[in-house]
Every structure is written in structure tokens, then in C-alpha cells.
Symmetry: C2
């Protein structure tokens, strides 16, 4: 059985790390006898926008629908195209159109990486952020009034639905009940955001009644970010709205040393549409073109994609290879500058692929 993969490099360091992700995917395919068919697309990038006046071709939905998964680099280059145009015209559109309502992001302190937190070792930080990925604070409803005057006002609606909340909670509770610690933390802000957030709390309570084996706690987002830093060992599965999940899944990886290694999976659990795999780091225009971007986030995405496609063993082998090279440390392995090494995107990509 052939898996058809759409590869989209996008912008900035996306174009540098994607090839390393493909490098390890091809090696894994060979070793585990997996049939991958990769097709490249140049849309969903700011350069494409500058040429075509839109981020995507008109037939993007049909084109991409026929694939089994999308392997994505990064999109956005604010000096070329404002972020809200490039992102809403591509990545955020994919998440909605392909109903990728789960954004799954592991936060794990890897061997060989120094956490910015004092006295933390691998094993101390090991949790998942499960982020709602289609609705909530990322809404397209709202507008501006009294434009250009002193009285100018802008309004933007947060929209949450029972369907939208319940399905992400169910995924998170299922995940928690499969993990050894059976623990779920819900992020809200029901003391300040008085309509949507208390509703989220209500739905958590309702869902929890179906999972007596899962221990549930809840924190307001402000103190939760504090606790990520003070007590990262408290967390196992953290479930959050679109915005709060976005924040927590950058902060969590930062606590594990670098967001350069963090992967993310935008999942349509029913498999009706392709899921999309992209590193957390984004396009990072400030270091683009230098060949020093960390490819591990993208390579780890390859592992998540293979697991999603049913090849658990191959996925695990990639993560093992990453851990092995990281554990060797910056003296022995060509780690990139964010990991205090002297390696390049390519040399690190090659080293991990060889380890596999």
C-alpha cells in the first residue's frame, strides 16, 4: 500500500528543514519497507503569494484532499506579506478545511539537551499539549467601526461549540487514559473570560464523568504558565483552547531547551481528510538562509506522520535516532547553534539519518 505525501516547504527555514525531514523519511521507508510517494508543492508560501496574489491555487482543496498526509515546513514572512494574510490563507485554512481539530504537541526533555530550567533532567518534563485547532479565539468573525477616527473600535468574537470542545476533550481524555499517569490538566481562564471559559469548564466536568480512571485538574492560564516553569513535572496531558494551546505548546518546548526540536501534528482523527505535520518553530526569518536551523522538529514530525499512517515501529526508530544523536552532545555530534553546537541543518540531518 502506497502512502501519498504532499510536501510543502513554505517560507524561511521551512525550505531548509523540510529536505532533512524527507531525508529521514526516505531512510525509514527503506529500512521498514514502507512505500512513500512524495509530491512537492510551492504554494502556501509568501513568494507564491507575491507572484499569484493568493496563498493557494484555486484547486488546492481537491489537490491536497487526495493525499494521505501533508508534510509541512513553515509559513509566514511578515516583511513580504502580513502574517494574518499568509497564515489565514494557508495553514489556518488547512486546519479548518481538513477538519484537523486536534493539534498534538509533545513536550519532552530529551537527553543531551540542557533545559533553561534549573536542575531538570530527562524524565522530569514529559507531557502532551492537546490543542483545539479549528475554532475558539482564532475566529474570522468581527470587524472595525468608526474607522480612522478617535472613536475607532475593533471587535473579534471567540466562538466555541459543544461539538468542537467535546471532541478535543474526548481525544485528550482517551490519550490520558492510555498514559501511565492517567492525568489531565485543563487550561482555562474562567475568572476573567466569563462566558466561553466557564462553558469549557462545564464540558470538562461532563466529559470527566465518563473517565473515572483519569485524574483531572484545572488551572487558569496565567498560573498555568507559571507552573510550567515552576513544576513542569506536574503535567501529563494538558488540554486547551486554540489560543491557550498555542501559547502552552511554545512555552512547554521552551522549557525543554529549544523550540527547534518540537514537532506538531494537526490531526483529523476520523481520517476523512489528510492530517498535517509541521514543526512548532515556524519560518524564523531572522535565521533563514543561514543553514543553521535545527531540523529535528521537522524530522520528529516525520516520526509522528509515520505513526499516524500505521508505522509505529518506524516512527519510534526515528525518535530513537534523534535521541541517540542528541545524547552524544555538541562535542560529538553536529548539533545546531541553538543546541550550543557547531553543526548545520544538513550535517545534523545527515547524522540523525545515519544513526537510523
Amino acid at each position: 500500500m502506497t502512502h501519498r505525501i504532499a510536501a510543502i516547504a513554505g517560507d524561511g527555514i521551512g525550505t531548509e528543514v523540510l529536505p532533512e525531514g524527507l531525508r529521514i523519511l526516505e531512510a525509514a521507508a527503506k529500512r521498514f519497507d514502507i512505500d512513500l510517494e512524495i509530491e512537492h508543492f510551492d504554494f502556501a508560501s509568501c513568494d507564491y503569494y507575491l507572484e499569484h496574489g493568493q496563498m493557494l491555487p484555486d484547486d488546492w482543496f481537491d489537490t491536497l484532499s487526495s493525499f494521505d498526509a501533508i508534510f509541512f515546513g513553515a509559513v509566514g514572512w511578515p516583511e513580504k506579506v502580513p502574517d494574518h494574510i499568509s497564515l489565514w490563507g494557508s495553514l489556518l485554512q488547512f486546519r479548518r478545511a481538513f477538519d484537523q481539530y486536534i493539534n498534538l504537541r509533545p513536550c519532552r526533555l530529551m537527553p543531551g539537551i540542557k533545559s533553561p530550567l534549573a536542575d531538570r533532567e530527562p524524565g522530569d518534563i514529559d507531557f502532551y499539549v492537546v490543542r483545539e485547532n479549528t475554532e475558539g479565539e482564532y475566529s474570522s468573525v468581527g470587524g472595525k467601526m468608526f474607522e480612522g477616527t478617535e472613536r475607532e473600535v475593533v471587535i473579534q468574537d471567540t466562538v466555541m461549540t459543544r461539538t468542537g470542545i467535546d471532541r478535543v476533550l474526548k481525544y485528550a481524555f482517551d490519550l490520558a487514559s492510555k498514559r501511565p499517569r492517567h492525568k489531565l490538566t485543563s487550561a482555562t481562564k474562567s475568572n476573567g473570560i466569563s462566558i466561553t471559559m466557564p462553558y469549557w469548564d462545564e464540558r470538562v466536568k461532563a466529559m470527566a464523568s465518563h473517565y473515572p480512571d483519569v485524574t483531572v485538574d484545572q488551572f487558569h492560564i496565567d498560573i498555568l504558565t507559571a507552573n510550567f516553569v515552576l513544576h513542569p513535572d506536574w503535567f501529563d496531558v494538558v488540554v486547551a483552547s486554540n489560543l491557550f494551546g498555542d501559547i502552552l505548546s511554545d512555552l512547554g518546548p521552551a522549557c525543554t531547551g529549544t523550540i527547534g526540536v518540537a514537532p506538531s501534528a494537526n490531526i483529523n482523527p476520523e481520517g476523512k481528510y489528510p492530517s498535517l505535520f509541521e514543526p512548532v518553530h515556524g519560518s524564523a526569518p531572522d535565521i533563514a538562509g543561514k543553514g543553521i536551523a535545527n531540523p529535528i522538529g521537522q524530522m520528529w514530525c516525520g516520526a509522528m506522520m509515520l505513526e499516524h499512517l500505521g508505522h509505529e515501529e518506524a516512527g519510534k526508530a526515528i525518535v530513537d535516532a534523534i535521541e541517540q544523536v542528541l545524547a552524544a552532545g555538541p562535542e560529538q555530534a553536529p548539533l545546531t547553534p541553538d543546541l550550543k553546537g557547531q553543526g548545520t541543518t544538513q550535517s545534523l540531518g545527515k547524522a540523525i539519518t545515519e544513526a537510523l
Copy 2:
């Protein structure tokens, strides 16, 4: 000239730390010959709500308006009254009714406190969060539809006004231009929150043109939280919306070791209404009644209040006393358990007051 101060202890540890705040205020008043008249109120607490069915008496606005400042403990006890009722019925109401549109929160790593961040020393973390405090994401506009059915949907509006944004930006730019580093960081999320956040960016750009001496940068809230952990030394004045400011002003203090010492000032800069001073930590029901809450946040609030009332020297003396006791460390000083000491709220409060 007499300063009339309304003291409101509120809930939980608020009732334990407030007396220590008053203790040092009285000592400072004596030493610097300041005339303070303190009046106590029992409203704005969940117990008051349980007795009266509302958080505040009907005449609260007139009563409190006549004071020069409000010295506040903490409010909220979710097991007694849902947070969104207790908070919207008191603190959040004060902020709006008294137009305390600035929430000023210093984040400073103090001598003697161990940061959870590796290898950080006093001097490495020293910035202010300036939070918009009346509008934005904390809105009362929205509602629920299809209640109780599968189709249930909740909507809540974020409302930002030019007036509201410009005045907080002006305050933050003024502050930045008075600080040695002349640096301002704006927190947004204009790639995901596509209406309100790009508007905030626009207003920052417009305001920046009046402050050529201030260096301005901007981060999306997700990577900004990561950078608080990875590079806290980058920041000087951070300006943010109501929600983002709330998050950053818990995360920042967490990076300085404990949110137990962080103060906050809810300021009406025009002095038309009383400003309100409250520690960041909140009511902390989990440790309430044990006498172990850290009183430093409340005492530091006393310093901010005296400065606000024109007594800079007295405010500075309180901060010096706090620093002196902290620097002595848990072996020499009765630091509270959050600071790895064996002290109590009272013994620490007394030690700092004696140092003054």
C-alpha cells in the same frame, strides 16, 4: 495632608497578608511622617456574597470613590462562589468603574531568591509588564445559543478601542523612555487573531513615531512566553492586552522564583478615581488558613501605593527592607515555605518591618 486608604482583605490568603501590608505601611508612615487613615471593609469577599447575595453593597462606588487609594488583598474562592461571579462582581468591576486602565507589574529577580531558571542572577531579570486593564478579552459581551443541545455555541467578544489602546501604549512608552534601556516590547498574536491584534500592532507603530528614543520590538504571545524563559534579559517594558498582560505578569514573576512576592498596581493615571494595589498571587485557597502565605507581594504593594501617593522615598525604603531580608536567605531570615524557609506570614512580615 491625610491620605485616606480603603483596606479590603477579601478572601483566602488575602486576609492573612493584608495585615502584614498594613504593618509595614504604618511603620513607614511613622518613619517618614506620612499621615495615613485606614478604613477596613469586609465586602468584595465570597463570605460577603454568601451573606448578602452580592459581592458589594449598593453604595460601593460612592463609598470607595472618596478614598485616595484602595489597598487590596485577594478575591475568589471557587468552592464558595464561582470565580466569574466573584471576580466580575468586585475586582474587575473596580478596574472598570475607577478607570484603572493601567495594570503595572514589576518582574525583578531579588537577591536571595533562587530563580527556577538556570544560571540567572539578580540584574538578569528586571522588567515591567504594563497591562491594559479595562477592555480587550475581558469582555462582558456575548452569550450562549442552542442551550442544552448538541448544537450549543458560546460566543464572547474581544473589544478594543483606539482610546483604550493608545492610552496604555502612551503610559508604557513614557515608562520605557524613563528607563535606562529605553526598550519596549509589544505582545500580540496578529498571525492568528486576525482583527484585534493587527489593529494593536498598527497603534504601536503610530505611537512609536512619537518616541524616537525608544527601541520597539514585537513578539507573538506564544514565542514571547518562550522567550521569557529562554531570554528574560531581553525585556525592559512589556506592554500587552488585558489577557496577554495577565499571562505575562504571572509567568514573569514565576521566572523570578515565586509569584508570592509580585505586586501589582491598578492605576488611574489621571487621579480622578482611587488606584488599587493588590498582590499578583490571588487568594490561593489551597494554602489559606495555614499562616504560611508569603506577605511580600502585599508589602511591596504598600511601597507602590506610597510612591503613587507621592512618597517615593518611603516606597523605596520598603523595597530596600524587603531586599535586605530576602538577601539574608532562609537560614537567617524567617522566609516562608515558597522561599524554602520555615517562617510564617507574620514572622516574615515582622522581620521586614523591623528591617525598615
